[in-house]
Symmetry: C2
């Protein structure tokens, strides 16, 4: 597992106080975080600073965003070596009971045979249901 500083260095994003604390928070979570989740966790950091930090992280492929249908965009740290292109595609799971959203890095995404002449760039794949913890 890389540290915040290592990740920022690799992705050539300048290390600042807000960036460090936001990235550290994201690294410590097992569920994808919304802007509000982060705001609540980091009580003394301004929302717009967190917002702009998330934009910067996403542009520099430190994190990726997930639209899980909850109305709030969620963010998760990219896997090591991720370049956010089709080869890095993976499913996300949204538990309708505990509302936890997370990356399913281990579930392979089959090759998509799009209709003729279509070009694949990215995808937002969200599977919904009950997680192992809630399905008892």
């Amino acid at each position: 597992m890389q540290t915040e500083e290592e990740i920022l260095k690799i992705k050539k994003v300048k290390n600042t106080a807000v960036r460090t604390v936001v990235l550290r928070h994201l690294l410590n979570q097992e569920k994808a975080q919304s802007l509000k989740d982060i705001e609540n966790a980091l009580a003394y950091t301004d929302r717009s600073s967190i917002f702009r930090t998330l934009k910067t992280f996403e542009e520099n492929k430190i994190i990726h965003s997930i639209e899980d249908g909850s109305g709030m965009t969620k963010y998760a740290v990219c896997a090591e070596g991720c370049n956010c292109d089709p080869k890095d595609l993976h499913y996300h799971f949204y538990c309708s009971n505990c509302n936890k959203t997370f990356c399913l890095f281990d579930l392979p995404v089959p090759k998509l045979e799009l209709p003729k002449n279509f070009k694949l760039q990215q995808a937002n794949m969200v599977v919904k249901g009950l997680c192992d913890n809630c399905n008892k």
Copy 2:
């Protein structure tokens, strides 16, 4: 292709002026429509009436919604016989050039082997890229 009246009858939703015109509009579009799209197309129908109509349609499985990441939920008419459960799962395509979102009813979705003890309920699968028209 079924008419608005037939669909409403089959799905046991009372036929009203707004419902008929909204459903007719949706049936005539090849791209999934946002609330604003419909509002713009139906200049004399109120937004909240369209909104409540869409809720009613979705609850009664006349239409399904698509979160394509554009910030506006899109709606498309369900295929005949659709029951909006995992067997009706299909991909959606969002063209990053022309911003058109539509159902890929012909592209089969492989069976999802979720991790142990997970239960699949639904999914929102949006593939992004260039449509055949824009990929030239």
